[in-house]
């Protein structure tokens, strides 16, 4: 057996296939696929992508419900030397077309039902899964490609090549694409697979989207370990429990709302414990302490890892399971091969002092795609580097405030900007406001996040209404419902405000801008 050094995502697949081509790589519904299948079918699709003219470094969009084909597509793009761009299947055409334009993708691989919602102008080539799409003449059926003979082994690529762009939001403006190198992806799988102790015997239940760095990590760690990834679509408690039992899952990664859903089944879990579940991990927000206590009680044999990360640096910290008694606000210690600095006014904070979490290490991504200004704000030279090191290492300034205790454990304190985080998703107020304005019923809007134990924050929007065609203000009740309907149709569910307040006038600052602080103080429920 000749294994490759692990430089690229392709190397991880080649090694897993070399070790055992007949091992099951992916379970999608009733279908099981081996590493041999993943190798063959990604080579077949790689060949087609190259025939379609997909060049090195080019971005290939993947807009699908989580599926075998979506996984093959990521690896095919990687083998072709291209970068895959996973688009959350919950996104609506407006957001998809923004991502397509911003990333400059020419080739899109999508479910045909999703292709049919999109304007054919957003990509030159499309491959579809399902029945032929109504529009998009000339699109290729992915099933024909995957079952075809003869593949392309792939173009040579370096660990410094672009691997993927993951879209996420900040405190202002529209989503930004975080660019990851092959090295970022591989080292993320190495580090996480190391502390989770993943092996080929693992069966990882995959519930999170691949458009999310945390969700993508289950795939990369599974392939690296030669483990099986089981795709789970439904998060409803009955389906989730059935999925965990029937798949014999040994690992599960979730965001806080997932644990609330799982704990709905607490009686059944107490009656029939999930004895095979070796570990669970939480990231994407703090899990409520009561839920953590209940999980520990119901899953006595399961190791619980609380983790913290931000897309810009992939993963920063984890709390070893034996330290779980420190409580759910503890985010633990740095992941292996990583340093976490707590910085305030350019210097390192002492124990107990609150500062900004700054991440240094090999998972620091390559910056925001095409956005130099934002990149320079978040990706800065290492503040404590030796001045003689001229090619200054870049670190990520997270914007998250933390403190470190005497023993070196880190605790999340909060943020002091307007970024909204709900159920693991990051949004800027402007993104929400833009959606509301799009209804053409809203004159001005101010959105903010309100603390919510289950999802971290939920969205509240304070709006003023446009005048009706007869010069009168629109009737409030019906306008609110129509605005909500517009938002539901044009945005993913996590971006729809939980509450809409209609007011006559939005408070302003002396300079005439909308006074976000005062609006949040007046209309938000505050901390708690």
């Amino acid at each position: 057996m000749r294994l490759r050094p692990e430089f690229t995502f392709t190397d991880l697949l080649v090694n897993a296939t070399e070790r055992d081509p007949s091992a099951v790589a992916v379970v999608d519904g009733a279908s099981r696929y081996t590493f041999g299948d993943l190798s063959d079918q990604s080579a077949a699709l790689c060949r087609r992508l190259i025939e379609l003219g997909v060049g090195k470094g080019e971005r290939v969009g993947i807009y699908m419900e989580k599926s075998w084909e979506g996984i093959v597509a990521m690896l095919a793009a990687t083998r072709a030397g291209a970068a895959f761009v996973n688009i959350n299947p919950l996104l609506k055409p407006a957001q998809v077309s923004y991502i397509a334009g911003d990333s400059g993708m020419r080739c899109l691989i999508a479910d045909s039902t999703k292709l049919d919602t999109l304007d054919g102008g957003i990509a030159q080539h499309a491959l579809y899964k399902g029945p032929p799409p109504r529009s998009w003449a000339g699109a290729t059926d992915i099933a024909e490609v995957l079952t075809g003979e003869g593949g392309h082994p792939g173009r040579p690529s370096l660990e410094t090549d672009l691997a993927t762009i993951l879209y996420t939001s900040g405190s202002t403006g529209r989503p930004k694409g975080v660019a990851f190198s092959q090295h970022n992806l591989v080292v993320g799988a190495q580090i996480v697979g190391h502390y989770l102790e993943n092996t080929a015997d693992d069966r990882i239940l995959s519930v999170l989207p691949f458009s999310f760095d945390y969700g993508l990590n289950q795939l990369t760690t599974a392939i690296r370990a030669g483990a099986t990834l089981i795709i789970q679509h439904s998060r409803l408690p009955g389906d989730l429990l059935r999925g965990l039992r029937s798949s014999g899952a040994t690992g599960l990664a979730g965001v806080p709302p997932l644990w609330s859903l799982l704990l709905r089944s607490s009686r059944t879990l107490a009656d029939e414990p999930l004895t095979g579940l070796r570990y669970v991990t939480n990231s994407g927000g703090r899990i409520p302490q009561a839920n953590l206590d209940q999980l520990r009680q119901l899953l006595p044999g399961t190791r619980i890892f609380l983790m913290y990360g931000l897309t810009e640096a992939f993963r920063s910290t984890y709390l070893p399971p034996e330290e779980i008694g420190r409580g759910s606000e503890c985010i633990g210690r740095p992941i292996p091969n990583t340093e976490i600095l707590v910085i305030r006014d350019g210097r390192e904070c002492g124990p107990g002092e609150v500062g900004e979490l700054v991440h240094r290490g090999p998972t620091v991504a390559q910056g925001y795609w095409g956005d130099e200004e934002a990149t320079q704000r978040a990706y800065r030279p290492h503040p404590l580097a030796m001045p003689e090191l001229l090619n200054g290492e870049r670190v990520v300034y997270s914007g998250d405030l933390v403190r470190r205790d005497d023993e070196g454990y880190l605790y999340f304190v909060g943020r002091d900007d307007a970024m909204i985080k709900s159920g693991g998703y990051r949004m800027s107020p402007e993104e929400i406001e833009e959606i509301l304005m799009g209804s053409e019923l809203v004159r001005e809007a101010c959105a903010f996040g309100e603390p919510d134990a289950e999802v971290g924050q939920h969205i509240v929007a304070v709006i003023t209404l446009r005048e009706g065609p007869d010069g009168s203000e629109g009737p409030d009740g019906s306008a609110v419902e129509a605005i909500r309907d517009h938002a539901m149709r044009n945005a993913p569910p996590y971006m729809v405000p939980a509450r809409l307040h209609v007011v006559d006038e939005l408070p302003r600052t002396p300079s005439g801008k909308i006074d976000r602080k005062s609006i949040t103080a007046t209309y938000g429920a505050g901390e708690g």
Partner: protein
């Protein structure tokens, strides 16, 4: 005993208030597959149905088949109160 039509009205009203706004929702419109109803919202719906109709929805019944559409949910409710 709750009739499925009555349950459907209650569900439609809850959806209008909590999820969909003023859109008219057909009984067979896919709620979950279409991404209309999130998992956590579905929990909210279950809590409401349990209180309103005095029923208990068992863990293994709380799945995508039973909550696929207004028709599916209302027939589950009707079967529990029969």
């Amino acid at each position: 005993m709750v009739d499925a039509g009555e349950a459907a009205e209650v569900i439609r009203e809850w959806l209008r208030k909590n999820v969909t706004g003023d859109r008219h929702m057909m009984d067979d419109h896919p709620l979950i597959e279409s991404g209309l109803l999130t998992s956590l919202q579905t929990v909210g719906l279950v809590v409401m149905l349990e209180e309103r109709f005095g029923i208990v929805i068992e863990d293994d019944e709380f799945d995508e088949d039973n909550f696929a559409s207004i028709a599916a949910i209302s027939s589950l409710v009707a079967s529990k109160t029969a």
